[in-house]
């Protein structure tokens, strides 16, 4: 009776020892192993937007209206176009000579807003 129980004990002990050694081996190998990157990168879902470059807005145009429509849609906005500066007339020159101090709104400092010292925040 005792012999059989002892045999079972030794068997279970050996099994337990084997599992522990296997676990430590696996742990050590996992420490030394290198992580392989996936061969193909994950594909992101396509972004659906009104300005999708793959599907531009299609216009059916007559050759006569082609230039006008192209310039309207792809041309520079009005505020960005080159504008000629207004030239000084003789009246302006007379005004400037008459007054000792002429305030020119087109000058670089003309648009400077004079601030109240109370409003200026300290550093």
């Amino acid at each position: 009776m005792e012999a059989t129980s002892q045999q079972f004990m030794s068997q279970s002990y050996l099994n337990a020892q084997e599992t522990t050694t296997r676990a430590t081996k696996n742990y050590l190998t996992s420490l030394h192993s290198t992580r392989k990157q996936p061969s193909k990168p994950l594909k992101r879902p396509a972004i659906s937007s009104p300005l999708n470059p793959m599907h531009p807005h299609v216009y059916r145009v007559e050759p006569v209206n082609f230039k006008v429509l192209v310039q309207r849609l792809t041309g520079a906005p009005e505020h960005e176009t080159v504008q000629a500066k207004p030239l000084k007339t003789s009246d302006d020159a007379a005004k400037q000579s008459s007054s000792s101090f002429a305030f020119d709104p087109s000058s670089s400092w003309g648009d400077f807003s004079f601030q109240n010292p109370a409003n200026i925040s300290r550093w």
């Binding site: 300005l51 059916r60 050759p63 906005p77």
Partner: protein, 109 residues
């Protein structure tokens, strides 16, 4: 690397694209701008190649693609990418003599 891909995608998304289909015998239609051809590519299942043009104006990144449709050979499809940051050439051609005249007259005032 991935960041570069994202930025290029964003850049593409920012540029608006407009496509025009016009019945024309000539492939190149006058739109008032000057273009430089920088490429041509044969398209699958099409007899006609696709031409690639870029705006000649300095610092203007507008591009256009011109291709004749294979199904309807009388129609030319012109696709524009981006918006010009300058007035069109024809407008400048008409304005320059006027500007010269004004500059000349300003000497006498």
């Amino acid at each position: 690397m991935n960041g570069l891909v994202d930025s290029s995608r964003d850049k593409k998304m920012k540029n608006p694209r407009f496509s025009f289909r016009t019945k024309s015998d000539a492939d190149i239609l006058d739109d008032g701008y000057r273009w430089r051809k920088y490429g041509q590519k044969s398209v699958k299942n099409s007899l006609y190649p696709r031409s690639y043009y870029r705006c000649t104006q300095h610092m203007c990144n507008v591009k256009k693609q011109v291709q004749r449709l294979s199904k309807e050979t009388s129609i030319v499809e012109t696709t524009y990418e981006g918006i010009h940051n300058h007035p069109c050439e024809e407008l400048m051609q008409t304005l320059t003599p006027l500007l010269h005249q004004l500059q000349f007259l300003s000497k006498f005032t």
